[in-house]
């Protein structure tokens, strides 16, 4: 029996399994700051939370991240500069609409995001054990910020095992536009990779460390909570940006490592994109 035949014969079962599994999926690792396109640099507050952003639902307890750093570059011809940010992380309790989970915040002093240019923030979390799925999840997450409109390294991969490389500036998108990127698995384009698209539907309130209860949008059916698409045969994808705010793109299980501490591991890649109303 070849795998295609197997897949066909078990299509109904697979569909059923997907429907059952769907609510447990859609975890998104956030690197959040209110505005990624800054006119001038300065001190910056960032939030790292592992949650279900559309529903502001169950927030998972994060462990201290393995890595948190920024790769900045002023102009296309300049050299990228990597700055470790782990020392700025502080453990916090983050309140979702359904629970309280362990998250991290970073108060970055003004010297870090001051120069003109791009800042690619990178988070390598410690794998999270998802008991309901009996597997570990590790989402390599990027958020790209810019100061002053001088671009730099926004389109360059940073070299993660699972990574989404943008084809549009992630910090400069109009509502109603489209956003494209390439999913890289161990540095190579990942054809037909499964993507989930999430929306930060509840404003994170950084000072009170909770999601705002009011939702910006409602899903008419569960398929809309997180949209599902696949990359094409070159590992590329395009999404629409129908509403202002932060959109998360997550490529599931594209990283090379599939086991951690004797259990299955899903190495995902996440990229955050902000859409701005044209006014």
């Amino acid at each position: 029996m070849n795998s295609r035949c197997f897949a066909t014969r078990h299509a109904w079962f697979a569909l059923f399994a997907f429907l059952v599994a769907a609510p447990a999926g859609a975890h998104f690792q956030l690197i959040y700051t209110p505005e990624p396109a800054l006119k001038v640099g300065g001190p910056l507050q960032m939030l790292l939370v592992f949650t279900h952003p559309f529903e502001a639902g169950h927030t998972m307890d994060m462990a201290m991240p393995a890595e948190f750093y920024v790769v900045s570059q002023r102009g296309k011809e300049a050299r990228p500069q990597r700055t470790d940010l782990k020392k700025h992380l502080q453990e916090i309790q983050w309140t979702s609409l359904t629970n309280v989970g362990r998250a991290y915040e970073a108060q970055l002093p003004k010297g870090i995001v001051r120069s003109l240019g791009d800042y690619v923030f990178v988070l390598v979390p410690t794998p999270y054990y998802e008991g309901s799925e009996e597997k570990f999840i590790q989402q390599f997450t990027k958020m790209v910020l810019n100061v002053g409109g001088l671009p730099g390294n926004w389109a360059d991969p940073v070299g993660l095992p699972a990574e989404i490389v943008p084809l549009n500036k992630p910090y400069a998108n109009w509502v109603g536009g489209v956003f494209s990127g390439v999913v890289l698995a161990d540095g190579k384009p990942a054809p037909h990779a499964e993507l989930e698209i999430g929306y930060v539907n509840h404003e994170p309130n950084l000072s009170q460390r909770r999601f705002e209860p009011q939702a910006r949008a409602s899903a008419p059916q569960d398929s809309f909570v997180n949209l599902s698409i696949r990359t094409n045969d070159r590992g590329e994808f395009t999404i629409g940006l129908p509403k202002a705010g932060w959109w998360g793109i997550c490529a599931l299980g594209v990283g090379p490592q599939s086991q951690y501490q004797g259990k299955p591991l899903s190495q995902d890649a996440v990229l955050w994109v902000k859409a701005t109303d044209m006014q």
């Binding site: 001038v40 002023r74 296309k76 011809e77 001051r114 003109l116 240019g117 100061v147 409109g149 001088l150």
Partner: protein
Amino acid sequence: MKRWGCPAVLAAFCLLAAEMAAAHSPVFDCFNGEDGQITCEGGFSDGTSATGVRVRVLDANEKVLLEGKIDADGRFTFKKPPVDFHLIFDAGAGHTVTLFGADIS
């Protein structure tokens, strides 16, 4: 007249091409550094370098207090003048940015 048609189209194309090549805009900002120094950074919105672009520091009477060029690192650093001043980042016609000392943080 007809034989000029082609060069005219070519000229129009060249003008258009030149216009397109100039579609980037200058980006220039300064901030207060240590020891009374001000560091300025310049570039273009398409990410190209502004190395060699002239920067002038002028007083309220448009008298040039000092001038220099954006260095290979995209920067120009100078000692903060004791008077009101403004800067002009001069990358040619249509590509200048003026920044006032009072707006530098």
